[in-house]
Symmetry: C2
């Protein structure tokens, strides 16, 4: 162990006005202002005050839920919002979810390059392949493409985007007024990408981002998802209920890295945590209960039906689940399906009990208690090879993040588990990740990810 203690990495997960589906009905939230910039400014500045590595914005390319009647189904577009927040923060990383299924590599590479420049090296891209037919219907497609096709496209998309980020070498710009030489033409490269999905000449019309490339994040836990992560990701978000599952996944993905010439420290694994904080454990449980009582039955049933790819509306709430489809038949959200199905089987849950699990933590791990109890539980996973940190999903906002930053962060800092100040200025520095060298650089060594 090095002189400096190993610190955990923390993401602040931004989802509506809180991760709980009924957060908007909870006191002090302002759901009607879901596109109000001051809500987001406050979130970002609080997370930065807490020295979080990054804030993380989830996304979807269609309304969330089957009807807009009872849930906060609208969302800001991630790149647009994070660019806005780049101007009102100075250190925290900014992670945007963008789908490879419904975007173009050239546009995406430019957006992230620009965000990385404007934020001084704080951009991250959470790569998703989208999961719903409702999204396909907004992009001139009859149905959502198959899992294998989406993953093949994602892999090629990431490769092309990485080449575009590399296309201007770090020292390509000279800007010599006297001679009129703006750039070294031999340090600006066409990429001439030619694959099954894209044909892209390049170069990008933006100079190399401060981080070389934005940090690449992924979340898929399927077999294909793990391999894609081991090859291309630098952060993996996961959802695990038990430390055993988390340890198994952690060991498995870290061991896959060598296959792609990468070292274990170049990929950080961060499970989602839904923390319910109280002055006592009982108070925390009461708080969760209060949130659960705000869930309208039709909202819960619709969410659970969505997770499990079956229509549950005919079944008694206090009975067991009906027979579920095979995993192979699920196209999109395979990991989520498996997670919820496993939970039901393992814990013998009724439909009503399962609704509680998916409407609150949405399949992630719930931990209740005092700030000390919360810190204990985070410490246990972190020190027992189950993760490199956590993606914190406050149940309601802004209060849930305020409590975590004011009460749990100091406890983690006192234990030497978390930074008390940012050391670097870029997200790569916060996460301890290499800055990749451009593939075109003549002094180029093997880069951290084999893109």
């Amino acid at each position: 162990m090095s002189k400096q203690a190993r610190h955990m990495h923390l993401g602040a997960f931004l989802f509506g006005v809180g991760h709980h589906v009924s957060a908007w009905r909870y006191p002090d939230t302002e759901a009607a202002g879901i596109l109000d910039p001051s809500f987001y400014e406050r979130f970002a500045q609080t997370a930065e005050r807490g020295k979080f590595d990054m804030l993380f914005l989830a996304d979807s390319l269609a309304l969330l839920g089957r009807s807009p009647a009872h849930t906060v189904s609208v969302r800001p577009e991630p790149i647009t919002l994070l660019s806005y927040l780049a101007g009102v923060t100075s250190r925290i990383g900014l992670a945007a979810t963008v789908s490879t299924t419904y975007h173009e590599p050239y546009n995406l590479a430019r957006e992230f390059a620009t965000l990385d420049h404007l934020s001084g090296g704080r951009a991250a891209w959470n790569v998703v392949t989208s999961s719903r037919n409702e999204e396909a219907a907004n992009f001139s497609q009859e149905r959502h493409p198959e899992h294998a096709v989406r993953y093949a496209r994602a892999k090629e998309f990431i490769k092309a985007a990485a080449a575009l980020w590399d296309s201007w070498e770090d020292d390509a710009i000279i800007a010599d007024r006297a001679s009129g030489q703006f750039a070294h033409p031999d340090k600006v490269h066409r990429i001439d990408h030619q694959g099954s999905f894209f044909k892209i000449r390049g170069p990008l019309n933006a100079p190399r981002p401060p981080q070389g490339r934005p940090v690449i994040i992924q979340a898929g836990a399927s077999e294909a998802g793990r391999l894609l992560a081991a090859e291309t990701a630098e952060v993996v978000f996961t959802a695990w209920q038990t430390i055993e599952e988390a340890q198994l996944f952690y060991g498995n993905v870290k061991s896959l890295l060598a296959r792609f010439g990468r070292t274990p420290d170049q990929l950080k694994i961060m499970p989602g945590i839904f923390p319910v904080i109280g002055t006592s454990e009982a108070e925390a449980r009461e708080k969760e209960q209060a949130l659960q009582q705000l869930v309208l039955p039709e909202v819960g049933l619709s969410m659970l039906s969505g997770s499990l790819n079956v229509d549950l509306s005919g079944y008694p709430l206090d009975g067991p689940l009906p027979e579920l489809p095979e995993l192979e038949a699920v196209n999109g959200g395979k990991s989520r399906f498996q997670l919820v199905a496993d939970m039901a089987r393992r814990d013998g849950l009724t439909i009503r009990q399962l609704i509680y699990r998916v409407t609150g933590a949405r399949g992630h791990r719930t931990i209740h208690g005092t700030p000390v109890q919360i810190a204990d539980q985070l410490e246990a996973w972190f020190t027992q090879a189950a993760c490199d940190g956590f993606n914190i999903m406050p149940p309601y906002l802004p209060g849930g993040l305020d409590e975590f930053v004011d009460q749990v962060i100091p406890e983690l800092q006192n234990r030497g588990l978390f930074r008390t100040e940012y050391n670097g200025t870029t997200l790569r520095e916060h996460l301890g990740l290499h800055r990749p060298t451009s593939r075109f650089s003549r002094t180029s060594e093997a880069s951290s990810a084999s893109l």
Copy 2:
């Protein structure tokens, strides 16, 4: 005439570190920081101090110029940059150029809706169809689509985007905590768009923008461009050398509006102006001369060749142009081609003289002189039915905008030709444009543009 004098509308055009191709070699510019946020912050805040209606960001989806060696060929992505600037300004409109040829309506509608929300109603979309094969090559296409195909796609794209912005009625969100009713489901609409290019179900996953829809800007001056503008645009940017041409265009486009049930005040025509300001006219002309002397011959020849769709590298600089292609053979930048060809013919210019015209004002009108002389020339066009205002293209930045704001704006204000304070908060209010009602609104009247 109403009691309040008619005011001109002004846009601050942001192109590299100045409109002149050699701006970056001019003293006090910082071309190496082309992605430095402080450069853009200063530009936006200066334009806002000058009470400009909007700042306007040009764009391209490939490197500018044939080689990156001698020109500032890189650019920030417009939506990303303007979202950043929304946070450091409060009144000025923010106009982003985005191509309909290489984007998807759902993504674009969301980005502009988000920008409009974050900026409190200051977003504008400059609709372009792109013009170069180099752009096609970055988007998996063999060649740039034909003019007619691009315009048909643009028209359908605007229509679909407008429907998406309308899909949440203004009063769709209730957010009633007690009942758990977040939105009126009957005020949130699928758009079920089905056309030749797109099939989009909707609704958008963002509530209706503060302006209803962002302001729509266009620049094409071809026959198809004028018709598209008369049907769908609210601001038209143009390039004219003489007041007679400008008056002809102004009269023509304003008269086309009735065909689409629109009134003349619902479309503002703003020609580009390249102002060279000095303490005397002679000093202004010397300044321009100094900029011209910084143009390397190969840069000028390459720009002129690009405008005219011919390779001029074999021809003597002090001789006339060779025979040019027919207008029909030009695919993309037809208006620019015609403008430069007309200029050469009308003024009997040599290649070298023509290079001066395209590398400075890039085909727009140059005016030289003292602040009073500049104001005189703007007043003449504005009061003689040639335009509703101007798009100001400072030769070099930040100095060229500083001079305009500190010296010309007060002169225009003294003459009662320009506002001394913003009256409204949205760009539509600055421009005197209707806020369109949603097509789905039950109390909906005919909207300003027939989208």
